[in-house]
């Protein structure tokens, strides 16, 4: 058979596609061939020589990471000769590797340690002086301890090939070869920490984590990153009730091995000293700490009073709270307070897309589609800055499958480096510029279109019409900003749409209208900061805010509830592609409650029956009542992502696209939340720029 090759590995018959590497073929049948330098998906190095195996009819040991399978090949991975070779390689590595495992961050999860246990000699024979180089700090998040480095070049490759940043290289030669950063003594890069994560030993360590714990002393909780909308899984390592590390330990999320600086390091807002830990109430013009019961009682009393006299409520939801909280909030507003004046900061025109795609299935792309599609078109987004996972997927797609990428942006973007065609347009002219790509796109077998807030309102419909006119299968992603921006729309945090894009009878006020309404009686903000750049026109309104911090909005509040962060709650969030994933509580902060619990306590106090307020029961209700959210529970429970399938029909549209505006966060900012991450603020690259990459580095290079 032409499409598969038969070979034998350690006596097991293996079938593999031609071109498969022996190391991968072995993995398929459960045989692990050890390797330091080999990393699936990156270029081959054959530098560590750990994967040497015996192959019949070959005179020397062969590296399993570069050897492709051949018909009739007989491979042996555990012969005395192989074991001896591995032992000798480890002996070589350890000659200049400091034996400081007891104080090394990597101790306990170090690949060199593991391999030495498995294959290494009990005793070293190296009696000479070791090569020593002092440790260096390359950035607030990246430290490099050269003697520990075994030069597997994984970091160099992940930075260059994976991230497209190319910030690491090798200098000198021989035993003094060293990994070096792009700015001589420091790094200027994405600060993503991929190099640290991929390092098999403790050579690259993170400024956030180093010397704070041993790996086995931490609890590990896999949850979803609280920052952008891509929905990366981040595994939080916690110790003594504090998050110490974020990484993607088991690579099981939709992001695989990928995490950016926010997912990996910007969890530190959680233990920021300014976290609110007690409800605050305005007493005598000042916000004073009060008990939970007093705060809840006060808000319930005022809300009930305003509701009974027919006063006007304005409710603002969050881009970061869970689906359950969003659902419960809109239910609270609509059923409990009797108002449709509910909104959130809208960052992408999802409803318009859902409407334009009415009647079709399989047209909403997933994160995986971005990796597998033959062609992609990015419109109006600096993907590498705003949607780092999607950018990583797109890049990996090009690296692995030579997919074609097209960009239509208002400035240079990193995707230009490999895109087939990049079009520069004036802001607002994105849609018109598509015509110039029509012939090229037509020739593609399929396409994923990712569009930012430049395409909204009527333009979305025209974009879909353009997609239809190409005559090829097209899938879409409407880019939104934050971890649950998509969920906020799906759950009906909109004045004109209820959960599942169901139109409501009497549409309420939008956020700008609430801010401008002088007769607003109550303004209730759950996890948002609308007053950062705006003023509330209604001076006398009763303002209630749920937040982690005393934001500009909270400062104006009459009652502030200290809310739990996304890392302190259970629930689900929906990413930019509509994939629903599980949030898991990793830590608790004293004095805070989840928004869901606050809502529940309020409803109880107000004697409104909105149902139980546990995440499980609300999710059950969402799955039953919100169209498209009947997602497979086992998938979510197991840490997977299940794509929601929203309403397959027409959506009542709000004809005001001006309400939709992305916050334009870069890799190093994350709305109000990002201001409370020391890491984000401390890196040299902060605050970052969109569409600015090409302008900066060239002249700076030596």
């Amino acid at each position: 058979m032409a499409d598969s090759v038969n070979l034998t590995i350690d006596g097991k018959a293996v079938q593999a596609a031609p071109g498969t590497l022996v190391i991968d073929a072995a993995k398929k049948v459960g045989i692990e061939i050890p390797a330091f330098c080999y990393w699936e998906g990156l270029t081959l190095q054959a530098a560590c020589r750990m994967c040497l195996v015996e192959v019949e009819r070959m005179p020397k040991l062969m590296t399993a990471c570069t050897l492709t399978v051949a018909e009739g090949m007989v491979v042996r991975t555990e012969t005395p000769l192989v074991a001896e070779a591995r032992k000798s390689m480890l002996e070589f590595v350890l000659t200049n590797h400091p034996l400081d495992c007891p104080v090394c961050d990597k101790g306990g999860e170090c690949e060199l340690q593991d391999m030495t246990f498995r294959y290494g000699a009990g005793e070293g024979r190296f009696d000479e002086m070791k090569v020593h180089v002092d440790e260096k700090q390359w950035s607030p998040v990246v430290y490099f301890d050269a003697p520990r480095c075994i030069l597997c070049y994984r970091c160099v490759r992940i930075c260059d090939e994976g991230m497209g940043v190319d910030a690491l290289g090798v200098i000198y030669r021989g035993v003094v070869s060293e990994i070096a950063p792009n700015k001589e003594d420091h790094l200027q890069c994405d600060e993503c920490g991929m190099c640290i994560d991929i390092c098999p030993v403790g050579a690259l360590t993170s400024g956030m984590y180093r010397y704070r714990t041993r790996p086995w002393e931490m609890e590990h909780t896999g949850t979803i990153c609280a920052h952008c909308s891509n929905g990366c899984k981040t595994t939080l390592g916690t110790r003594n009730g504090q998050i110490i590390r974020g990484n993607n330990r088991d690579k099981s999320g939709i992001n695989g091995e990928f995490l950016c600086i926010k997912g990996r390091y910007a969890f530190d807002f959680n233990s920021h000293p300014e976290r609110l830990q007690s409800p605050l109430m305005r007493i005598g013009g000042k916000l004073e700490p009060v008990s939970w019961s007093r705060a809840i009682g006060e808000v319930a009393r005022r809300f009930t009073e305003i509701r009974e006299r027919g006063g006007r409520f304005g409710v603002v939801g969050s881009n970061r709270t869970s689906n359950e909280e969003n659902y419960y909030l809109q239910k609270f507003a609509r059923q409990g307070l009797g108002t449709n004046n509910i909104d959130h900061r809208r960052t992408g025109d999802v409803p318009a897309l859902i409407d334009a795609l009415a009647g079709r299935t399989g047209v909403l792309a997933t994160v995986k589609d971005v990796y597998t599609a033959k062609a992609s078109l990015v419109i109006g987004s600096d993907l590498a800055q705003q949607h780092p996972l999607l950018a990583y997927q797109l890049r990996a797609n090009w690296r692995h499958h030579q997919s074609h990428t097209y960009t239509v942006t208002r400035g240079p973007v990193r995707e230009d480096k490999y895109s087939v065609h990049g079009v520069r347009v004036e802001p607002g002219a994105e849609l018109g510029a598509l015509e110039s790509l029509r012939d090229q796109l037509k020739a593609e077998p399929e396409l994923v279109i990712l569009f930012g807030d430049a395409i909204k309102g009527e333009a979305v419909r025209r974009l879909v019409e353009f997609g239809d006119s190409l005559g090829i299968p097209v899938k879409y992603i409407c880019l939104v900003d934050y971890s649950n921006s998509r969920g906020a729309v799906d759950m009906g945090l909109l004045p004109h749409l209820g959960p599942g894009y169901q139109g409501v009878e009497n549409p309420g006020m939008s956020l700008p209208e609430m801010l401008a309404a002088e007769d607003l009686d109550a303004f209730w903000v759950v996890g948002a900061n609308p007053l950062e750049h705006n003023k509330l026109a209604a001076d006398r309104a009763f303002v209630v805010v749920h937040d982690l911090f005393l934001t500009e909005t909270a400062e104006r509040a009459d009652v502030v509830f200290p809310a739990a962060s996304a890392y302190e709650k259970n629930g689900t969030v929906t990413n930019v592609c509509g994939e629903v994933q599980h949030l898991r509580s990793a830590v608790q902060t004293m004095g805070v409650k989840t928004d869901l619990e606050i809502l529940g306590l309020l409803s109880k106090e107000m004697r409104i029956n909105l149902g139980m307020w546990t995440p499980e029961s609300v999710l059950r209700e969402i799955r039953q009542t919100v169209r498209g959210y009947n997602v497979a529970l086992p998938v979510i429970a197991a840490g997977g992502a299940a794509q929601s399938l929203p309403l397959n029909g027409r959506v009542t549209l709000d004809s005001r696209p001006e309400l939709i505006q992305s916050a334009g966060d870069t890799l190093f900012t994350s709305g109000t939340l990002g201001r409370y991450s020391k890491t984000l603020l401390s890196v040299l690259e902060y605050p970052g720029v969109l569409y600015g990459e090409a302008a900066e580095p060239e002249a700076d290079r030596r």
Binding site: R49, F92, V170, V176
Partner: protein, 436 residues
């Protein structure tokens, strides 16, 4: 002026123009059958050219001794990609100094060899990768290339044959590793000089991922003679499967060190005694490194052998790059092994673990050992560390470091023992050995 007096035993084919007045100039070259082989080759089919090279049994002069004709035949001539001719002039093997003479005395012979290779594989661009230390040769080659352009022996439609060929020089930056063909190509492309994973071999994917013929300077220089006089005539000069002559670089403790062009299969003892004038100071021969520092050492009693690739391989050494290093009875073999390992530890590119860590380990070990701090267990350890490198490194540099070390320990075990237990080196005071 020549660096050394020629020997009457020499068979001058490649070096026939050495010593002529103004031998680098194109005029001298043209006056002595220069570029005639190119004219002849231009009238031949590519297959005929390759066939002629095959008949000549010319084998790569860089050290590995791969049959040149076969190497050329691997190039996919109908590939739509451009093809390249690359000259490995990164002559860095300790004990080797022949390529510099070929370029210094007869640069046009090299250019003509490249052109014929270009005809054979349909290549129109050639690069000469010259080691950075040969600064003066770069100027010299550039001048020769300019001359060839001026006289229409390079450029478009050369001498009306319709063949286009351009030649460029490229400077190395002082890395021995870049003499390894794939590392050379990386360096040529402007990248860090580290070897590539093979396959694909350069013949299929070499410079700029295009089919590439990559040979040593001496190999290319032999080509004009082969085409001019026929492959059979060249082959007849040497022994079976080892055609032609070879420029042997005789160095070390001989009376008349120098570069001598001798037929393949020339006896090593005769070379030392008759060509080189015997061991210096009438001393006894102790050991010979037959082909540059990466070859296992031969004891004096093993030296009665024919210097061709196969015979030397039978003696468990290598003909290598033709750098014959002679060591007399007063040479400390521990120090010799140390000196060689210093070189390899300095030149290891650092890419793969066994070479990077093994060479420096051996250097430190030998250093300590030679200084009188050796322990009994160190002697087998030296051999074992070297054996652990052997055959397991990414490129042949690790082997090149391991092989001589293993041979030194095996063949001169008693000398290592003489250094044990704090005993000073027995040769130190009379040691005049200097290899590099």
């Amino acid at each position: 002026m020549l660096y050394n007096e020629p020997s009457p035993l020499e068979v001058k084919v490649l070096s026939r123009r050495f010593g002529l007045p103004d031998s680098q100039s194109i005029n001298t070259y043209l006056a002595h059958e220069g570029y005639q082989a190119f004219r002849k080759a231009a009238a031949m089919t590519p297959d005929d050219i390759i066939n002629e090279v095959k008949i000549s049994s010319l084998r790569g002069r860089g050290g590995a001794g791969f049959p040149t004709g076969m190497k050329w035949s691997f190039v996919p001539r109908n590939s739509p990609k451009p093809k390249y001719i690359v000259v490995n002039a990164d002559e860095s093997e300790p004990g080797t100094c022949k390529d510099r003479l070929l370029m210094e005395y007869d640069p046009h012979q090299l250019i003509e060899g490249m052109m014929i290779a270009g005809l054979a594989v349909d290549a129109h661009t050639g690069y000469i990768y010259i080691r950075g230390e040969y600064r003066y040769l770069i100027n010299l080659m550039d001048r020769a290339i300019a001359e060839a352009y001026e006289r229409g022996y390079l450029g478009k439609n050369i001498q009306g044959t319709g063949f286009d060929f351009d030649v460029y020089t490229h400077t190395g930056a002082g890395a021995y590793e870049c003499g390894e063909e794939s590392a050379l190509l990386e360096s040529l492309e402007g990248k860090r000089g580290i070897p590539r994973i093979r396959p694909p071999f350069p013949a299929v994917s070499g410079a700029f991922q295009c089919p590439t013929v990559l040979n040593n300077v001496e190999t290319y220089c032999a080509v004009p003679a082969i085409i001019r006089d026929g492959g059979a005539a060249f082959a007849a000069l040497g022994t079976p499967k080892n055609g032609g002559t070879r420029l042997f670089c005789l160095s070390g403790h001989v009376n008349r060190p120098g570069v001598y062009e001798l037929p393949m299969g020339f006896n090593l003892l005769r070379m030392i005694n008759e060509v080189g004038g015997g061991v210096r100071g009438g001393k006894k021969l102790k050991a010979v490194i037959p082909g540059g520092s990466s070859c296992p050492v031969l004891k004096a009693e093993e030296c009665d052998l024919a210097m061709d690739f196969d015979t030397v391989a039978q003696a468990k050494s290598m003909l290598g790059s033709g750098g014959v290093v002679v060591m007399d009875e007063d040479t400390c073999m521990v120090k010799a092994a140390l000196r060689i390992m210093k070189f390899y530890a300095h030149e290891s590119c650092g890419w793969c673990i066994p070479c990077r860590e093994g060479t420096i380990w051996l250097r430190k070990l030998l250093d300590r050992f030679h200084a009188g701090f050796g322990q009994q267990g160190d002697i087998p350890l030296i051999g074992e560390v070297a054996k652990n490198m052997l055959g397991r490194t990414f490129c042949p540099l690790g082997d090149a470091a391991a092989m001589p070390t293993i041979s030194f320990v095996e063949k001169f075990y008693d000398e290592f023992e003489a250094h044990l237990d704090g005993k000073p080196c027995p040769y130190e005071e009379v040691n005049r050995f200097a290899l590099a």
